[in-house]
Symmetry: C2
Subunit: 513 residues, 2 copies
């Protein structure tokens, strides 16, 4: 525990209790525990072919770990052949190394009711990550600022179906690149009580993330629990750059979780076919996860797959496409055979506006991710324009739709009440069920209902201004941000976080690269 973190103890219970009494509580659904099967698109033979081919890739082609002599040494010791930056592995080595990674783990939140179990049949939902721009109906498209970032953290905190506060909900471009992570982590820690992600853009920023988490949770808690799940992208094809691997090393050593994830636009960073892309994804995931286990056996990881297709006319990535679905389904099967939690999916779209294109593409993506057995879904709301834009309206539109995934995942109840034979007898041919006893007893929980969409009769809707979904979403954004109240936080911890950020910012000049 560093000096600043030491101030944690001085906050005392009284201020927490005072803060809790005055805070508004927003309801958050528990993470999804699926009671439905996964959709298995590949048969056993196809899975074996892909697994064999991935091992062939690792054996014959190999992977690059540039500018990372430490990693090369670890690989050599583990039995790989190292030539320059290239690492080639005997068949089966990577899979064997992956075996020490946990099948599932719990990421704790500062509010224990928000803890999430990642793996198994669960699905944890986190918001959009990474866009340099934001858009809303009134202000249009513009560079994102730290004020936008804070707004998105607030919206995420108030979103019932969102379990996780995420990471870079947008890039706060008005803050120096070397200091951004401090403000971002501060926002997640103070403005929300949901679990969050750490910085990965520099190993030292990953270290700051761990330090700030020590202030928030206490060092003992951080040493013995997962308090961050961070995003480690693989530089596809088959390259593991030293910045990302440096962040992975920091997190793995600290026992903190990492999503190890190829970032692939099919036809550009991977073969143009689904089977070829799955082969590369598996080779890359095997390598990244194996490397995390070389750094620290037992380090919690998530096998990721960010994969989409390309429009061969314009070169633009395309979303919600059937090929992306094939890959997402298949990669889920491969991850489950590896015994690892699986990250994929999101509210993906290529549209520039939160319009029908955006919603078709997003709904395609969300549905496939649920049925593909995804355990951690980053970008579950707010993603627009191929990930260049965090959209205020789309954030609340998507966040509302995430409710459908919760209800779908419940599966079909078959108890006596659900069988409803009494109601069928009571109503009989030609009757109606609206007033019957069984309907009265069950209607409140029977059907999922959007909190955003318009279900009114045409005439009422028309009188109220014939508003489209974007207009309704814009109103909802304003209402949520005006209703926002921060979750209670111990004053001493809040002060210590402020002090850590101030001290770190003062310790170096601004850098914008």
């Amino acid at each position: 525990m560093n000096e600043v973190a030491g101030r944690r103890a001085r906050g005392g219970g009284g201020s927490v209790r005072r803060a809790e009494r005055t805070a508004v509580h927003f309801e958050t659904a528990r993470f999804i525990e699926r009671n439905i099967p996964n959709f298995e698109i590949l048969n056993e033979e196809a899975l074996q072919i892909i697994e064999w081919n991935a091992d062939t890739v690792l054996e014959e082609i190999g992977v690059n770990f540039p500018e990372n002599p430490g990693a090369l040494a670890l690989w050599k010791d583990a039995g790989a052949t190292v030539t320059g930056d290239r690492v080639r592995m005997p068949r089966g080595l990577a899979r064997k190394l992956c075996a020490t990674a946990p099948k599932s783990f719990t990421q704790i939140a500062r509010n224990p009711a928000r803890n999430v179990d990642i793996g198994g049949r669960n699905l944890v939902l986190a918001p959009v990550y990474g866009p340099p721009f934001v858009r809303d109906a009134e202000g249009g498209r513009r560079y994102a600022t730290i004020a936008d970032f804070q707004n998105f953290v607030k919206l995420g905190y108030m979103s019932k179906w969102l379990h996780h506060s995420g990471g870079t909900v947008c890039e706060p471009t008005d803050v120096a690149v070397n200091k951004r992570h401090l403000d971002m982590l501060h926002a997640h820690m103070v403005l929300s009580d949901k679990p969050y992600m750490g910085s990965v853009t520099e190993p030292s920023r990953a270290a700051d993330s761990v330090e700030m988490s020590r202030i928030l949770f206490g060092s003992d808690v951080v040493d013995n629990n997962v308090v961050m799940t961070s995003l480690i992208n693989i530089n596809s094809p088959l390259t593991f750059d030293s910045v990302m691997m440096g962040a992975l090393e920091v997190y793995a050593k600290a026992g903190q979780a990492a999503i190890i994830s190829p970032f692939i636009v099919g036809g550009a960073m991977a073969p143009v076919t689904v089977a070829g892309t799955l082969t590369q994804v598996l080779a890359e995931v095997l390598t990244g996860v194996a490397y995390s286990q070389l750094v620290r056996p037992g380090a919690p990881v998530i096998a990721g797959a960010f994969v989409t297709s390309i429009d061969m006319n314009s070169g633009a990535p395309t979303f919600g496409t059937p090929e992306a679905a094939h890959i997402t389904y298949g990669a889920g099967q491969l991850a489950r055979r590896l015994g690892l939690p699986y990250r994929s999916g999101g509210a993906f779209c290529g549209s520039k506006l939160p319009d029908a294109q955006a919603a078709y593409e997003t709904a395609n993506s969300l549905n496939m991710a649920l049925l593909a057995g995804v355990n951690f879904m980053l970008h579950a709301c707010g993603w627009l324009e191929g990930g260049l834009v965090s959209s205020y309206e789309k954030f609340v539109m998507d966040a509302d739709q995430l409710g459908t995934l919760h209800h779908l995942a419940q599966g079909v109840l078959m108890d006596e009440n659900a069988q409803a034979m009494g109601a069928l007898h009571e109503v009989g041919p030609g009757g109606h069920y609206l007033g019957c006893e069984h309907t009265q007893a069950n209607f409140k929980t029977a059907f999922w209902r959007s909190d955003l969409f318009d279900y009114k009769p045409f005439e009422t809707w028309d009188e109220e201004g014939a508003r489209d979904t974007q207009t309704l979403a814009s109103l909802r954004v304003k209402k949520l941000l005006s209703d926002y109240q921060p979750p209670a936080l111990d004053e001493g911890i809040a002060e210590a976080l402020d002090a850590y950020v101030a001290q770190k910012k003062a310790s170096m000049p601004d850098a914008f690269f």
Copy 2:
């Protein structure tokens, strides 16, 4: 063959050939043959419970066949207990009677390339059915006319991913109720060469549908083939009204196909629970299909399920909901166990506009229908506002999205080309695939691509007017309607159809009920 139909022979081959030389040909995809598994949400125990309960409903509660002494007599002869209009069946009777219905059948079109095989692992897509209103961006919402009807038939004919011309693509409210069916059938027969549906609003109109089909195809062809698939709705709960049953009797006797389909808003026309609704759906489908087989053993039928949920606040039906998905998945399993083709799904939404709400709800519905094993999807494009409105823009938006279902259903190829090991070797770590030989050889067919959505860079899109999906769809509608050219049709047949319609219209006064 009646007198008018007799003119068919006089058309001669010459006029067909002349017409074919001048006609523009629009590409239509073959119906979908799935190479992916179905999503099975119910386990064996749940299926057996629902099947047992459905038989209990038929045995203890029974179904009503009002104002239909002929039907009651058939049921009595078959071994049912008839009390007033109520028919109660010993356990297993209905299922036994269903066994003579074919597992699948071919509906022929006047262009043999457009024939569709309904059943098995196939999916046939047909447009929206029934709305009294239309909407487009410029004209807003208004009562539908026969001109609108003809426009939708034209759009359906030109839609690549639509296999079927459908039936009442909108209600032509400017034509007398007792004459509408003539103009509607005429439009399907003349303006399109895809398969179509017959009229069901009166037994005599069903008979007209058969007669006009005899003119189009020739009597021999109609006697020996399915040339119409018509929609017989069950008046849920458990009521089989005489108008719909009268139409069913006409079609079954003529060997023409019928979709026998409960029309259910859960909580109103069926129990508020999924299992209870599935029980009622199965009881109703068993009864309707069994009755078709009593009328004519071997009559081709489709087991239908139009089921959605209700908003308990407003009483409005809601679409794209998780409960609708549960029912659609479950009903598919029940239909397959009955060995019958399955009709369900559609481009369902409750939204008043073709906006994001419409697209989320629609994409949810389309995806579930594909994975639920649906064989015939009515309402696959154009549905808006809970089925009150046929939307021009949504018609082309949905029709474009149907392409994703075709590609999804292809499944994952695993041949040597698809495995792409040569490409992986060629490109290696850090390379890119855009220029490699394998990508060049495969890129044209590798990825589905929307013909409507905007895939351009932000700057280009912005310069072109920052158009949303509705605006792009509106332009596409105009372009398609201006490009439209009718498919070639023998002049003699065209004249005979005109004459039949004219003669029938002249034979009775207008009626608007």
